[in-house]
Symmetry: C2
Subunit: 291 residues, 2 copies
């Protein structure tokens, strides 16, 4: 939930937006103005320009991405799986309507094609207009990119042995993202991957969503021989620490040498690739506990 | 700066405390009640009981530590240096009035004595009363511990070749902690260490205090042959990512095998010991840039 005032900032106007990350915890950003506020078939969409985070995309009141720190999330959801697979050619991105993930994916030389399936066309349109740095691959119709506005769950259900890498760049497991956090979906992901394929999904905060992380880890482990949680520090998200879960049919991130890393990384590098897999004690315990 | 209401919570009272982490960014916690609010010779001191973080110590309006996540800061400021030194016997802690750091330090079997010099006796008294889990070593007058209420800067100035490990567990570089972030202080730290000694200091957020981190890294590098920044994810602090800087005369954290790690760690483990040294690209760039 978010509270904000849809007033264009002016002299003497002190405008703040607050995301209630939990019922008892709020992150507030002073903003210059609300650039967009609307409602799609699926969700409330807003773009605000904040002093600390720059422009921010807000969906159903939840801060999704910001110009200040988006590189962390997008580099980590894209380059960790793409450096784990020795030669990712065909990639599928589910969600990721702001375009940041596909912007990173197309940087890999081995990648020939990226199919992106985003359910909400208005998120794409708004991102193209108000978040030009993030949505650059969408704006420029990158030649590797094939964008479909449609249902990722249905697309996954229909695909078979098609992709080297699948990236599930979804919002929270409430609203349109809900069906992407189910065992049935992971069964379809497994089927949609080639025999040596792997996938990654954003899986929320290890401080505030422990039961979700535990359930997903169990579901994914039941299907994939290799399951790996990894971490990234993202100031915009609850607790500042975010986790991703990888299911892989063959390749283990620890075992693979780092592939050629594209230029211009701001967070990801070979040291981070190793470090992000090394989990603090309390996270290891969440994953192995039986309760 | 913090805004809060000094009312004991009751039915219908919605009480929040907000730390303005920067002028444009606020972290707000819903609280049950304010347990203590007072003023020492050095600073404003408060303890609030929050829903999300449990009891929190607040100094001059800045969230210092919470029962929810204090283990991360205290394990990381204590065990990284103590596992880097092959046999730390004599340890000095500057600051750390809540007692969490010395609670961790005394767990190491090789440590014979811990001198703690805290400038503000009221922080110690308040922590002993309201933060019993954190201040346990202070409350029980742990036999390894020698607590002095006094000026850490003066103590450092007077000490010579005395300590194996020094831990500077200070508050922000504004107010009583200011003199602990200076080149002169690090010269004294160098002098106070044995010929193979090392020290660690908390050095704020890599997202929001980059010029400070850069200056300290330069100052410490000018004195110590080995300087190492390392990271920990701490939800209570700005951006959720916190950095520590180590200056060492002889031992490199990467080179040393992990010493016996005390039982009961919730964050630190051998994997984290390695991972915390691997810095994201933007932090590496802060440290090496000449600007």
């Amino acid at each position: 939930m978010t509270s904000y005032t849809n007033i264009r900032g002016g002299i003497g106007v002190d405008l703040w937006i607050t995301e209630y990350q939990t019922a008892d915890l709020g992150l507030s950003c002073r903003i210059k103005e609300t650039l967009f506020s609307g409602k799609s078939e699926f969700q409330d969409i807003a773009v605000v320009d904040s002093h600390e985070f720059g422009r921010m995309l807000v969906l159903d009141g939840v801060f999704q991405t910001s110009v200040f720190d988006e590189y962390i999330y997008h580099e980590m959801i894209a380059h960790v799986p793409l450096c784990t697979h020795p030669e990712p050619k065909k990639v599928l991105v589910i969600g990721g309507g702001d375009g940041g993930t596909v912007r990173e994916v197309v940087k890999h030389r081995s990648v020939n094609s990226v199919k992106m399936v985003e359910i909400d066309g208005l998120v794409v349109d708004v991102s193209k207009k108000f978040l030009p740095e993030i949505s650059i691959a969408l704006r420029e119709n990158h030649p590797k990119l094939d964008l479909t506005i449609g249902d990722g769950i249905q697309h996954m259900h229909d695909a078979e042995s098609e992709y080297d890498v699948i990236i599930v760049d979804c919002s929270d497991p409430i609203g349109p993202g809900e069906g992407l956090f189910t065992y049935q979906f992971y069964k379809d992901v497994y089927k949609a991957l080639k025999p040596d394929g792997l996938f990654v999904q954003q899986t929320e905060s290890p401080f505030y969503h422990q039961s979700l992380i535990k359930r997903l880890y169990k579901d994914i482990s039941a299907l994939f021989p290799i399951t790996q949680v990894y971490l990234a520090s993202i100031p915009l998200y609850p607790g500042g620490l975010h986790c991703f879960t990888m299911g892989s049919k063959k390749y283990r991130p620890q075992d693979e040498p780092v592939q050629e890393i594209p230029d211009g990384m701001k967070y990801f590098n070979p040291a981070v690739y190793q470090a992000c897999l090394n989990l603090p004690e309390f996270i290891q315990k969440i994953l192995v506990s039986n309760s």
